[in-house]
Symmetry: C2
Subunit: 184 residues, 2 copies
DNA sequence: ATCAAGTGAGACCATTTTATCTCATTATTG
DNA sequence: CAATAATGAGATAAAATGGTCTCACTTGAT
């Protein structure tokens, strides 16, 4: 009973994320319509807009978490591991895009903590890269994660805008991130 | 008469940009209040919300344009020139931040053109850097401008969040951008 | 000092959006 | 097949917001 509802909720969340990526100011009516359900049903799943947004946020975190697990961060060099995560994350742009803009989500107290929690493995990966000498040690891990995050957004936007081919996007992202834009 | 009103308008715009950077969904009442004026007066300056947002966008472009002119892009190496622009742009974070999220502004037809227009010198600077061999030629200038833009946002956010000292922000930004996060 | 212009506070209306509720219809389950 | 649960469409209320207007008050120019 709840399991089937959970499955349905997830479908709705994906539809919502998809629409919000295109139009961040979508109303609940639009979201329901885009998900192929009625307003009433949407409210049965998520009691308020904030509730929906929060669920959306946690779902996004869950997807990132999955990507991180699949990437097997402890295998191979730190750079290889980072590349694997990035490659897994780039296609998720649509579903993660709203995380940047939506104030509802990142002002919520618990959410920040959850976010830090799921990003923790990445943090440790960066530290491993610094210890092994692969990554610059004169940059703080926090800053490196920041720039990784925003570079991902740049990639998504660029692909969405048509300035960057989807196939080569991850490679361009990684070489830019690792080697920079200057010739050595 | 109009000149004094123009001056007042500009003050209001700065206050509005400041507030919107903190809370992108601010109502007109909040904006007016934060600017220290009444709702009615705000409407006397800007006849509608869209009007205000657009003025905000053009003001932001104007500030960027000024920064570009002051940076004397044709002087010295491309890297030096880029560094000068970035240093000028970093402190303007608050005023430019909303440019990323606000749909009102970047969907407007004329605005995109104006934006491309004021960014044109930067585009040429990047091309100069590629010709002189300072910047990688296997990256498209468009992509380089994208990543520069988002790296700036990362810097603003990072400074705002307290993770990066304002003084060293430009240097960190530029070395990350030019040399990347990997050890050569 | 006087007069005109501009301003602020808030009432007011129209519109949009969230949220609740009802009810007929459809699925589901036993 | 029958009973029960879930759904969709829409009516409705409640809240928020954009935009207009009035009016008393301040400011500044003459």
């Amino acid at each position: 009973m709840t399991s089937i509802m959970d499955a349905r909720r997830i479908e709705v969340l994906h539809a919502a994320a998809e629409l919000l990526a295109l139009k961040p100011a979508s109303s609940l009516a639009e979201i329901a319509s885009h998900a192929g359900i009625g307003k009433a049903t949407l409210h049965r799943y998520f009691s308020s807009r904030e509730d929906l947004m929060l669920a959306l946020g946690y779902q996004a975190l869950e997807m990132v978490s999955q990507a991180i697990q699949n990437a097997q961060l402890d295998q191979g060099s730190a750079i290889e591991a980072l590349t694997r995560v990035a490659e897994a994350l780039v296609p998720l742009g649509d579903k993660l895009h709203f995380l940047l803009n939506e104030p509802t989500v990142d002002t919520h107290p618990d959410f920040k903590a959850a976010e830090n929690n799921t990003l923790e493995p990445l943090y440790q990966l960066v530290q491993r890269g610094q210890s092994s000498g692969e990554l610059r040690s004169d940059l703080s891990p926090t800053w490196i994660l920041y720039i990784l995050n925003y570079a991902l957004f740049a990639t998504w936007q660029s692909v969405h805008e048509g300035d960057l081919a989807r196939r080569e996007a991850p490679a361009v992202l990684m070489t830019t991130l690792f080697k920079g834009i200057a010739t050595r």
